[in-house]
Amino acid sequence: MSEYLVRRLAFSLTAMLGVITIVFALLHVTGDPAALLVTQDATRQDMERIRHAYGLDQPLSVQYARFVERVVRGDLGYSYRQDVPVTELIAGHLGATFELALASLAVAIVLGVALGMAAAVRRGSGIDAAAMTVALFGTSMPSFWLGLLLIIVFGVKLGWLPVSGYGGLDHLIMPAFVLGGFYAAQVSRLTRTSLLEVLDQDYIRTGRAKGLRAHVVLFKHALRNAALPVLTVLGLSFGQMLGGAVVVESIFAWPGMGRLAVQAVLGRDFPVVQGAAITGAAVFLAVNLTVDLVYGWVDPRLRSAGQQA
């Protein structure tokens, strides 16, 4: 177990170093990073000052080492627009993102697993076809459009839910449904495939043959064994949601990290964009590390298996 843990931890740390490298490269890819770090009305003197302050006049290797060191220390720079450290800004937005991601994960699990189960149990029936059609549309509809439609119907026409903003539970319903619904569609298709495979196994037939009730076979025997691939996808989805639901947060004016990143790009506040990318990746890697460790604990076969990506 400990070897597995060390290997996974090493993987996450190298990936994180890679992320920092990518973000560093992004800043330098245009040739003049100072241009990205100042506002449009900056003068030549401003540029020089920035170059000097950020050490952009140093050799690239020195800059890289300094950049990595700064990030490791938890220093993500300073926001031009808001005059606060980027870490502080991101910390202020992470809570809302976390709340939305958690609610969306619940939607994805409940809706996705229920649809997938219904489809698998009644394979080939009208229910199966209906559930899979819903799932197909769910993956095909752009989230910003679905969000607007919901706003039109439930926010404007019916007036049941607030159209945007951050607040109580009622503010959370529509964004969580839109974000979670997309992942629910994927989860339902995967649950169906995975469950169908398990339902074909001999031990399920044995269970049925010895007269176990249908729901016992389904929940205790089939679902547990079909759960592993679904869990993998849920873990990845949760990581993506936490990394910033860029679009959904923007439509519903949800004050999370994704919206912060978009506004930062529009306002040419590059340090914030960098910080968001690094934080998003860190959260994603942390969630996946946790999920993998939980697996190693749930499924002992994985502990000894080769490197699981």
Partner: protein, 304 residues
């Protein structure tokens, strides 16, 4: 799945002349046929009709702003799908926007594929430090949530048509590279590769003649499933104001422009939204079916 029955079925006799081609098998299923039909409509609209739009998509007519869809003529012109807040014809904008979405997807997917294929083949075949370094890079890039990465790249490259293609290629190639590398790792150990090596074939020849043909079906499936992802990403970025810029019309931008008018003009966001959904649906249907026909192992892998 594999039979629980004890009766072994005789292998179906191969009728080599009459054997169904993958294309026929693709179209024989309802989902494949619906997908293909939808795609035909979308392509005809995007690459045919869009060159004969009823109005100039950028032409404003401030005397008829926010006009609902109707068959009747208003002030001397019929606007089948209505007009937007500047009185621009929505049908014309839709057709041109569709063409642009398709062009972006048809540029991004082959470019990402080429990049991913090259890197995946070379690193998978060669191995060594280059392989380790590039695969770590791929892992790192795949840990940055895709849209967040795209947004960060936009911050560097700027907005516009060429930039958006570049952004989506940059975010798209690692998916291909990873799959290709895994395939090449197993292919290079197979007998036919060993045999080619034994008779003195060069690495380049082995890759081109023996490895590449075996990866192509997988590439085709991944590419088809990548197309809808690209279309959604482009629309999302344009929606956020980070993609294609006016006056070039784009579907995402049309929906964004409707955001403030959802109170009175339901058709403004609805029509481009339906268009995006149909395009994505067509590619998803075809891609799913193609995966089942060409490469069932990719099942459950999801889009790139």
């Amino acid at each position: 799945m594999a039979g629980s029955t004890l009766v072994f079925e005789a292998p179906a006799s191969r009728r080599s002349p009459g054997r169904r081609s993958p294309l026929r098998r693709l179209l024989r299923s309802p989902s494949g046929a619906v997908g293909a039909a939808l795609l035909a409509v979308v392509l005809a609209a995007g690459f045919g009709l869009s060159f004969a739009t009823p109005y100039d998509p950028a032409a404003q007519n401030l005397s008829i702003p926010v006009h609902p869809p109707s068959l009747a003529a208003v002030r001397g012109g019929v606007h089948l799908l209505g007009t937007d807040q500047l009185g621009r014809d929505i049908l014309s904008r839709l057709l041109v926007g569709l063409r642009i979405s398709l062009l972006v997807a048809l540029a991004v997917v082959p470019l990402s594929m080429l990049l991913g294929l090259t890197i995946g083949m070379v690193t998978g075949y060669r191995g060594g430090w280059l392989d380790v370094a590039l695969m770590r890079l791929v892992d790192a890039q795949l840990s940055i949530p895709t849209l967040l990465l795209a947004v960060a790249v936009v911050a560097v490259l700027g907005t516009g048509l060429a930039q958006i293609v570049a952004v989506l290629v940059v975010t798209g190639w690692p998916g291909y590279a990873r799959v290709v590398r895994a395939e090449v790792l197993s292919l290079r150990e197979r007998e036919f590769a060993a045999a080619a090596r034994a008779v003195g074939a060069s690495d380049g020849r082995i890759l081109a003649q023996h490895v590449l043909p075996n990866v192509l079906p997988t590439m085709l499936v991944l590419g088809t499933l990548h197309l809808p992802v690209v279309i959604i990403f482009e629309a999302a970025l344009s929606f956020l104001g980070l993609g294609i810029q006016p006056p070039t019309p784009s579907l995402g931008q049309m929906i964004a422009g409707a955001q403030d008018l959802v109170w009175q003009a339901w058709w403004m966001p609805t029509i481009p939204g339906i268009a995006i959904t149909l395009v994505v649906l067509a590619f998803n249907l075809l891609g799913d079916r193609m995966r089942d026909v060409l490469d069932p192992r990719l099942r459950g892998l999801g889009p790139v």
